[in-house]
């Protein structure tokens, strides 16, 4: 190493740089450049060489341009490329490692973290670039399925707006410079036992991280560790504490439950373990034969319409404040001592419903289950636990364990305490690990302003976001695909995070920052995590055990132990006064971008939200009756006031929303999210208070007369447009009717007439690919949509293009409402290409750009397509998507890394659509041909099918009688959508069955 370390900056010119670098070759060359780039002379050279950019060094976008320019100017291959193999495993293609075959992806188990909990995933990696997330079939939080957000998380890795370098007061510096200064500062804190030091994190389940924090607290006994999650499980912790007098995690086994009552819980589509829950729930919506009713029954009382409610056999839309009273009324029937005034109020309003649900629960005893919603106050949780105890379902549908989180706290109380300390000036050094609290904190705390009262403010985050604005130090955090770590699943399973790629920028793992705080010797994240588990002594042979755990993605047998709990008395502190004034305002995390963390993720922004099909914005959801009362229509801008604060927001009239309530979703109105998230929607945190973070009474709506354009993928001109227009698109029936006559659906189906012409039909003698989608299992969660987007290089088009009706999703989830607009039934139907045997798109293409394969695929030949769009016009399902403009980003380097190399990136003017993941079919075909065998059933898994948490999508060879898809097609519930057009769709649906309680049916 001959890099000069001159003490005073001396002038350096380009020739000299080249000369210095030319002395090196290979890896040394790389190191040379990095080292050189950190010297003061080099920075000075850059300022001199590119004065236009020098001033813009701190601006994200221009700085990127600058780096590009610098790369080009220095003519150094590799500087612009952001993807590198992790340094531990540099792969040389000259002497190719046995396990790396160019063109063949590798799959690694890892864990997707969200809200402090992990979801086991398998990451597909192409020559060192993670491109696609799949579920980990062995991981209890996944069982092979994934959530839409996990699917989209890979895009965040390549987000060009991520924080890319250590910033001190906005000026770039280095991690080493930071570490040196911070070590010194911490030594200073040791004198006062860390009384002026505060750590703020999200919920922590990571054993390594917990141990590091523990060591930090040992080093600084006076230091306080705060945890804040704006949309976490605080109430669940508090509820368990009330019910059992101690911290307990409650786990539900949905697969064992025959009757479920959900008290405002969206356990199927959001929150902890939703992927697993959806899989378990689907297992109880399957009929092995059409003889006996083995289906479960779901009752949902909910305040803000969500997918679990849409899946329910009996849904009750009530104000959020009434849920507690319903819980009281049910609990009272099970002998729990409750505030009778509250119970009576619920009885009065919803007596028959509560009666029927309670009786059903009681009848199923240990196989019944009550699930409280995470957003409901602790008392609802406590009462639900009491009902479960009374049902005697411990060990069957409910299990209690030691808490999964290292230290469950009340988020809002914890943040309030920190704010008070900041305000009192007792915080000298504040370390914030992610979470963007300046944005997500409730409005009453004024947290953003208070941050600045601390002396040194260190913020580690993926983004230079709102919080970074208030801190002196920004340490770019590693994405989970870039680093080592561990985390627990929803049931406590210890899951391992492996890096798929070296950090793209100067990112650091939280473990490294915590290592500084704990006073540990400097170590890489891998060393830190590995050392933790080596110390734990889990395996006799650590190296072997560790490798096995890494390849599985989790460490078996490390779950928190099962607990025997005993119910406390006096669970109910009394019903809250329900004030008659104003509207109830309900706060919920956004279904797609959650608390705002995924704001800058284009896939999630453009993903039509469940039920509303809204993209790129949030809205004030109001019921049709409330809208009528206040003379409001969708897209009207209102002044929404609550507790002395107000904001302007557009209205969305939401069928099935309870009257007198409005729902606002968090996560929007970001100012420093990045190019995608900035300016989308309104910031609902501005109305949220720490005292009533989930719902509160007394909000008012005032019409302003302004209008705001919302982008939705299913448009409505009138309320009637929400329905199927009397068309038999989604077949459904009560299970009793189906068991009576299993041919019910076949009788409604179209019976093709004999043609008088010689049809000259092609016979599919080889493989005949087909798909079934079980509408009885589908919850409408959107995982398939994002999975398809990630797999097939589907571009994001932006809000205006969605308004223009040009979204590109190859599979979409249609939503219809049937029945009364005040309490309609919401139905979902995923629509990929139907791959019609008599595809109407094919004969109308003048250039043979869409043709039929001999295995029944309707194929698109992009190169041949000249873009007449006739095929789309003639597609009765409207599944074809057209590149009206150049939608695929061909400029941003980072985004190129995400692309699936096996799928063409389509350019402007070309039609595209679902291909049945033809690249996956061909991959399996090559493998099978090499081994001279038939492709086995289940060998080809579509991206949508793989992601589906419920297992609703099945793909395979319909000529193979034993294939799952062939068996499903033989099911009496199987029907083709728009079959009367005689296009013979290869994708068919299994009709939806409802399992209503006969007692409530007669209403």
């Amino acid at each position: 190493m001959t890099t000069p370390q001159a003490t005073s900056p001396q002038r350096l010119d380009m020739a000299e740089v080249r000369q210095r670098l030319s002395e090196r070759t290979g890896p040394a060359y790389w190191r040379g450049l990095e080292e050189l780039a950190e010297t003061p002379e080099f920075t000075e050279l850059l300022d001199r060489e590119f004065p236009r950019f020098a001033t813009e060094w701190h601006e994200g976008v221009s700085r990127r341009n600058f780096i590009k320019l610098m790369g080009a100017s220095l003519a150094l291959a590799g500087v612009t490329g952001c993807a590198r193999q992790p340094e531990d495993h540099i792969v040389s293609y000259v002497r190719q490692p046995e396990w790396v075959v160019p063109g063949e992806p590798l799959f690694f188990a890892s864990t997707f973290p969200m809200g402090g909990y992990g979801e086991g995933v398998v990451v597909e990696s192409h020559t060192g670039r993670p491109t696609k997330i799949e579920g980990n079939p062995e991981h209890p939080s996944s069982l092979g399925g994934t959530s839409a957000i996990a699917q989209a998380s890979v895009l965040t890795l390549y987000d060009p707006d991520r924080a890319q370098e250590v910033l001190r007061d906005g000026d770039p510096t280095s991690w080493d410079a930071f570490a040196t200064l911070f070590r010194n500062e911490l030594e200073g804190h040791e004198e006062t036992d860390g009384a002026g030091l505060r750590l703020l994190t999200g919920p922590v389940t990571s054993p390594t991280m917990a141990a590091q924090i523990q060591r930090m607290l040992e080093r600084f006994p006076e230091t306080k560790w705060h945890q804040y999650d704006p949309a976490g499980n605080t109430n669940a912790h508090a509820g368990a504490r009330i019910a059992f007098g101690e911290d307990v995690s409650v786990h539900y086994d949905i697969a064992a439950a025959d009757v479920i009552l959900s008290l405002d819980g969206d356990f199927l589509a959001s929150g902890l373990g939703c992927v697993r829950h959806a899989r378990d729930f689907a297992s109880k919506r399957t009929l092995d034969n059409a003889e006996a009713n083995t289906m479960n029954r779901l009752y949902v009382a909910e305040s803000s319409p969500c997918l679990t409610g849409a899946t329910a056999d009996h849904r009750l839309a009530v104000k959020a404040a009434d849920i507690a009273n319903i819980a009281r009324a049910v609990a009272a029937r099970f002998g729990v001592d409750v505030d009778s005034a509250g119970a009576d109020r619920a009885e009065e309003l919803y007596g028959p419903w509560i009666n029927a649900a309670s009786a059903d629960l009681e009848a199923h005893g240990a196989n019944a289950l009550v699930i409280p919603g995470a957003a409901q106050p602790p008392v609802v949780h406590a009462l639900a636990h009491a009902i479960n105890m009374a049902l005697g379902n411990t060990g069957t549908t409910v299990t209690y364990t030691d808490p999964v989180e290292a230290e469950p706290v009340d988020s809002f109380a914890s943040l309030r305490e920190l704010t008070e300390d900041l305000d009192a000036g007792s915080v000298e050094t504040l370390v914030i690990l992610g979470g963007n609290p300046a944005y997500t904190a409730p409005a009453d705390l004024d947290f953003a302003e208070n941050i600045e009262k601390a002396g040194t403010r260190i913020y580690m985050s993926l983004y230079a976001d709102e919080t970074a604005q208030h801190c002196n130090w920004l340490i770019p955090e590693t994405h989970y695909l870039e680093t080592w770590g561990d985390i627990r699943g929803h049931d406590g399973t210890v899951s391992l995070i492996q890096p798929m790629i070296a950090p793209l920028y100067e990112n650091r793992s939280p473990h490294e920052l915590l290592g500084l705080l704990a006073g540990d010797p400097a170590a890489s994240p891998q060393e830190i995590v590995k050392a933790h588990w080596e110390n734990e002594g889990v395996w006799d042979n650590f190296d072997r055990g560790w490798l096995e755990a890494l390849s599985a993605g989790y460490i078996a047998g490390m779950e928190p132990s099962t607990k025997t709990v005993s119910l406390q008395n006096d669970l109910d502190p009394g019903a809250e006064e329900v004030s008659g004034d104003g509207l109830e305002i309900i706060f919920r995390a956004d279904p797609n971008i959650r608390d705002g963390f995924y704001s800058n993720n284009g896939w999630l922004q453009e993903l039509p939200k469940p039920l509303t099909k809204l993209t790129w914005d949030n809205a004030v959801l109001v019921s049709p009756a409330t809208a009528e009362e206040l003379d409001l229509a969708t897209e009207d801008v209102v002044e929404l006031s609550h507790d002395g604060r107000s904001l302007r927001a557009p209205v969305w009239v939401m069928p099935g929303h309870p009257h007198g309530s409005v729902t606002v979703h968090l996560g929007y109105g970001r100012e420093r999210a990045g190019r995608v998230g900035d300016g989308a929607g309104f910031n609902a945190y501005a109305l949220r208070t720490s005292a009533a973070p989930w719902h509160a009474a007394g909000a008012t709506l005032e019409k302003t007369g302004q209008r705001y354009r919302l982008a939705t993928t299913q448009i409505h001109h009138t309320l009637h447009d929400w329905s199927m227009q009397g068309r038999n698109l989604i077949m459904s029936a009560p299970i009793a009717a189906y068991l009576d006559s299993p041919d019910l659906f076949q009788d409604q189906a179209y019976d093709p007439q004999e043609s008088v012409f010689d049809s000259g039909e092609f016979e599919y003698t080889g493989y005949a690919w087909g798909m079934t989608i079980d509408l009885n299992k589908c919850t409408g969660c959107n995982a398939c949509v994002v999975a398809c987007q990630a797999e097939n290089n589907i571009p994001v088009v932006g809000k205006q293009e969605v308004i223009n009706g040009r979204e590109m999703h190859w599979i979409r989830v249609d939503r219809y409402y049937e029945g009364d607009v005040d309490d309609p039934e919401a139905l979902h139907q995923p629509i990929p290409c139907m791959h019609c045997e008599k595809a109407p798109c094919e004969p109308v293409c003048p250039v043979h750009a869409t043709v039929h394969g001999d295995e029944g695929l309707n194929e698109m030949v992009y190169n041949r397509c000249i873009g007449t769009r006739y095929c789309s016009n003639n597609c009765p399902y409207k599944v074809r998507r057209f590149n009206f403009l150049q939608y695929n980003d061909q400029e941003t380097e980072q985004l190129k890394l995400q692309r699936n190399p096996n799928v063409t990136v389509r350019s402007r003017g070309v039609m595209e659509k679902c291909t049945y993941c033809v690249q996956r079919i061909n991959k399996a075909r090559i493998a099978a041909k090499r081994e001279d065998r038939q492709i086995a059933d289940g060998e080809i898994v579509m991206a949508c099918e793989a992601a589906c948490p419920a297992g609703a999508i099945v793909f395979g060879d319909i000529n193979n009688e034993d294939a799952r898809v062939a068996r499903e097609k033989a099911d009496p519930r199987n029907y083709g959508l728009l079959a009367h057009l005689n296009v013979r769709p290869r994708t068919t649906y299994l009709a939806k069955l409802k399992n209503p309680n006969p007692e409530l049916e007669t209403e």
């Binding site: 109308v844 003048p846 397509c865 873009g867 006739y870 789309s872 057209f882």
Partner: protein, 462 residues
């Protein structure tokens, strides 16, 4: 048409039913018509019209340049409405282009002498309308630079067009139509070009017309061959009048979309095309006749006959509308019935209302002779019909697509500024071509007028 014959045989004395104004001889016909070109007797309004036309043509160039730069996404099209103004305009222009061939070929074969004074102009209009029309299918492509994929040409890909697609038929139909129309028009020009050559006083005109007239000397042999060629071309062109718009209608009728998938389309489209074509001839003829003082050649009898044909085809079109509703109801097809109700009462109800007003109600005024003789009224009615026929195509293309089978996919469509500019731009293109034609070629067939004059005089003597 029988009506027209009767008039010819029993000329009225009020002068309105003359095919040529009084007091003309063969020299004066040449002077009046050929003189416009040879002596450049153009009114100042020509220059004004040319300036406006050129400005609009610039709009066309700008719009096209931006289109090719950005892609068809600058228009209002979307999924489900993947065809918009481009296709509407294509059908509209092709429709307008129908009058020319109809007048030239069919009326020639039916010996309708009154066609003589309007056929040249109508043929030119046809050519230019087809030129405008053919721009749209080209420009509406996602990748217009690959348009030749649609042609059957030998290539290394071994690819042939898809002959099952009506779009491939379109290419042949429109190209054939354009070729035959151009030939027909040019052959008809040859004797007049020779007259121009003989009468021209400047050298350039003499040489240019000399070359273009292919050595015409007016010998009996020439006339014999000319008559034969013209008749054959007329015979060739006649089926084209029916075929082009039938095939254009297949673009819709062959699909399975409710509102498109209907057998009434070919005849109904042809009638609509003639309807709009005659309306356009009237729109153009009425002012030009006035400005160039051609009242003696394009007489009120011509105007009257054109108005009658417009009325007749308008009634066929109205019958087509009613049949669509009858068949929709009679089919018992749920989606078809929804589509028709949606047309009348749905999101685009105003298009339907305007269409009925323009094409059905307004046309009924032509029953009245007083209206048929009122040039101002006819001019306004012809413009209303032009608008109505554009709306008809809007109705067919947009309302059928915007709400088809799955309510989840329904959408709305609105043209953008770029849809407008391209449409208006092609009108500019059309106007420029037409004005250039008027400036450099005799807009009325001189020799046919002389022939007619002779024939009428001959008849009068008996």
């Amino acid at each position: 048409m029988a009506d027209a014959n009767n008039h010819k045989q029993q000329p009225d004395n009020d002068g309105q039913d003359h095919l040529i104004g009084p007091g003309h001889d063969i020299r004066s016909i040449d002077d009046s018509i050929g003189g416009i070109v040879l002596e450049q007797r153009h009114p100042a309004s020509w220059l004004f019209a040319f300036a406006v036309g050129s400005a609009l043509f610039m709009v066309f160039l700008t719009s096209t340049a931006y289109l090719i730069l950005k892609g068809v996404g600058i228009w209002g099209i979307n999924i489900p409405v993947a065809w918009g103004w481009a296709i509407i305009n294509f059908v509209w222009w092709v429709g307008i282009g129908h009058a020319g061939t109809l007048i030239s070929a069919i009326l020639l074969l039916f010996h309708q002498d009154w066609r003589t004074s309007i056929n040249r102009f109508a043929e030119a209009m046809t050519l230019f309308a087809v030129a405008c029309a053919s721009l749209f299918p080209l420009l509406h492509l996602g990748r217009p630079w690959l348009f030749y994929f649609i042609m059957p040409y030998p290539n290394t890909m071994g690819m042939w067009p898809q002959f099952r697609s009506p779009l491939a038929w379109d290419v042949f139909a429109v190209n054939t139509y354009a070729t035959v129309s151009a030939l027909f028009w040019y052959v008809g020009l040859v004797p007049d070009l020779a007259t121009m050559r003989d009468r021209a006083k400047n050298r350039i005109t003499q040489v240019a017309c000399g070359i273009a007239s292919l050595g015409w000397r007016g010998s009996a042999r020439h006339w014999f061959r000319y008559e034969m060629a013209y008749l054959l071309l007329a015979g060739l062109a006649t089926p084209l009048v029916v075929s082009v718009h039938s095939i254009v209608s297949y673009d819709f009728a062959v699909s399975l979309i409710p509102g498109w998938h209907t057998t009434v389309f070919p005849p109904y489209f042809v009638a609509g095309a003639v309807f709009s074509g005659f309306a356009m001839v009237m729109t153009l003829m009425i002012p030009i006749r006035k400005l160039y003082g051609l009242e003696d050649f394009i007489t009120m009898r011509h105007i009257n006959n054109m108005a009658k044909i417009t009325l007749a085809t308008g009634l066929i079109v109205a019958y087509g509308y009613s049949m669509e509703f009858f068949v929709g109801w009679y089919s018992g097809h749920e989606e078809e019935q929804f589509m028709l109700m949606n047309r009348v009462t749905g999101y685009y109800w105003y298009v339907f209302a305007a269409l009925i007003l323009c094409n059905v109600l307004t046309t009924q005024l032509l029953w009245f002779r007083s209206i048929r003789q009122n040039l101002v009224a006819l001019f306004i009615i012809s413009i209303i019909i032009n608008i109505g026929m554009w709306l008809e195509r809007y109705l067919i293309v947009i309302t059928s697509l915007h709400a088809d089978f799955l309510p989840s996919s329904w959408g709305t469509y609105h043209g953008t500024i770029w849809d407008w500019t391209l449409y208006i731009g092609t009108i500019g293109f059309f106007v420029v071509l037409l004005l250039v034609f008027i400036r450099f070629l005799p807009m009325i067939s001189m020799f046919e007028m002389k022939h007619l004059h002779h024939k009428l005089q001959h008849k009068a003597k008996h």
